[in-house]
């Protein structure tokens, strides 16, 4: 059963200079616990799809069907960690609970467990500036997990990190998502990142973005994203996606 379904979704942007079509008849499904990557040429409207799923934008036409009636269906993770510098790590991760008035022992216990599991417990009372870029991104993910969302929307979450940190954080984030049994939609322009993490890759055309191709990967057997980068199919898949993006 699909958790989320986009049906012929189109979106037009309005500006004083006129109307631009950003998305055209986008359709795809996301199954529970699936990791989807959306790749496409820059400026094609990848982020727009996430905004639509998050409900921040409304589609001009088409439907977005969520197979879940609970609140906090989605959790958003951005390019930069956007931790609040004036709050400690603990105060940062409970931000969502604070907003939704859900500060209770049970939720705190869950967060403490997450912090412990992912090596951040000792930094609870530190301020974000005292943490490395990779740790900050992990804190940002735990802040998102605090509200227990079904689907995580990842908007180029590693592109602000240097290459070495990026590979590590990529493994960390993937590990956390798999452990906590979340469904994830990753938007990226980095082809190897998409191949190393996703179960399926959705390739978009230039604007107005349409779904050009959906590639199903079978790389789970190789384990972590880092190991997947080493596997024999990797370069073949890379070339395939590359060619689809090119023309």
């Amino acid at each position: 059963m699909s958790l989320l379904k986009l049906k012929d979704v189109s979106l037009n942007y309005h500006s004083p200079k006129g109307e631009t079509q950003a998305l055209k008849n986008i359709s795809f499904e996301v199954k529970e616990n699936e990791f989807i990557a959306i790749v496409g040429p820059s400026g094609c409207g990848k982020t727009t799809i996430l905004s639509l799923i998050a409900g921040i934008l409304k589609p001009s036409s088409g439907e977005i069907i969520k197979n879940d009636d609970g609140e906090n269906f989605i959790g958003y993770m951005f390019q930069r960690d956007h931790l609040f510098e004036w709050r400690t790590i603990w105060q940062n991760v409970i931000l969502g609970l604070e907003i939704q008035k859900k500060k209770n022992a049970q939720n705190f216990e869950y967060l403490n467990k997450l912090l412990q599991k992912y090596g951040l417990y000792d930094f609870k009372d530190k301020f974000p500036r005292e943490l490395s870029g990779g740790m900050r991104q992990r804190v940002a993910l735990i802040r998102t997990l605090a509200l227990n969302p079904k689907v995580l929307l990842l908007d180029e979450p590693f592109s602000a990190l240097d290459y070495q940190t990026r590979l590590n954080v990529c493994d960390d984030v993937n590990n956390i998502i798999k452990n906590e049994k979340k469904t994830a939609i990753l938007v990226t322009h980095d082809i190897s990142e998409a191949i190393s993490m996703a179960d399926r890759i959705i390739i978009l055309t230039p604007r107005p973005a349409e779904v050009k191709k959906i590639i199903t990967l079978n790389l789970q057997k190789y384990g972590t994203p880092f190991n997947r980068r080493e596997c024999s199919e990797f370069s073949k898949l890379f070339n395939e996606v590359w060619k689809d993006l090119e023309n």
Binding site: I56, Y76, F78, R80, H82, W86, G96, I99, L147
Partner: protein, 270 residues
């Protein structure tokens, strides 16, 4: 890195010493410069090289302070001006921030009021002084009103810019967690703007003194501004100089208080 002092390397101790030395040089030069200036001023006045009737002298200023103190006027005048300045400072900072919040809240109101704020900002506020005296009545309330008028426009502009500079993605993050505008304001925009709020307070220290002294020039019967005007009219320049020195001290202390607040904030959060 935590090291006890005994564990410091020789090189690090040298570095610390160098740092301390440079601090001592700066501080002693600052004090030395002041003493040199005062001594030169006194010397030139005593030897008659400059006319101490016009320039006054440090000893005359000290004498005048003594006289004012003896007659009980010293703290009265200082108190009046300080009170006006502080009242203007707090009212303008608070009210200005409040108006900035309202303008941040509603884009429509912001767009409607923008040209008015721009024009009010470029207008020399003191031009409205006579009008305010007629409207509010002369005396303390008029002076506070002038003080508020001088500070408030720049407060609104500074704080509004601070609020609007808040990262769009951070607002999006709050929204994705279900925050309403009220929560975005209190949990994100206001705490984010505290550093700007403190620099706004620093600007307002200077502006509020301009406001209260200008106000006293226009209409007053007490205060340091009054003493300056009175002193210049009866040609008692000792009094003018003394009031200016007292003003320097008070304004300096007020700036120092805000700087202390900033230091406290940075210590807590940085």
């Amino acid at each position: 890195m935590k090291h006890s002092k005994e564990n410091y390397s020789k090189e690090h101790l040298q570095y610390l010493k160098k740092r301390k030395n440079s601090k001592i040089v700066v501080l002693s030069s600052q004090i030395g410069l002041l003493i040199l200036f005062l001594a030169l001023w006194e010397l030139l006045a005593r030897t008659g090289l400059i006319n101490s009737f016009i320039t006054s002298s440090p000893s005359k200023i000290v004498n005048t302070i003594g006289e004012l103190f003896a007659s009980g006027e010293l703290f009265m005048h200082m108190g009046v001006t300080l009170l006006e300045t502080l009242a203007g400072f707090f009212i303008a900072s608070f009210l200005g921030t409040l108006i900035a919040i309202l303008l941040w809240w509603s884009e429509t109101v912001r767009k409607i009021l923008e040209p008015y704020i721009v024009i009010l900002n470029s207008l020399p506020k003191i031009a409205l002084g006579p009008l305010i005296i007629i409207w509010v009545g002369s005396g303390t309330s008029a002076i506070i009103a002038i003080c508020v008028l001088i500070c408030i426009i720049i407060t609104i502009i500074t704080m509004l810019n601070a609020f609007l500079s808040c990262d769009e993605d951070k607002i999006l993050l709050m929204k994705s967690m279900g925050a309403n505008k009220f929560k975005i304001l209190f949990k994100l925009v206001l705490p984010y703007s505290i550093p700007n709020f403190i620099s706004m307070l620093k600007i307002n220290v200077g502006m509020s003194w301009v406001g209260s002294i200008m106000g006293e020039y226009l209409s007053s019967s007490a205060g340091l501004g009054y003493l300056i005007v009175y002193g210049s009219q009866v040609f008692r320049l000792d009094l003018v100089m003394t009031s200016t020195v007292l003003l320097c001290i008070l304004a300096g202390l007020m700036y120092f208080a805000v700087a202390l607040l900033e230091k406290y904030y940075i210590k807590k959060h940085r």
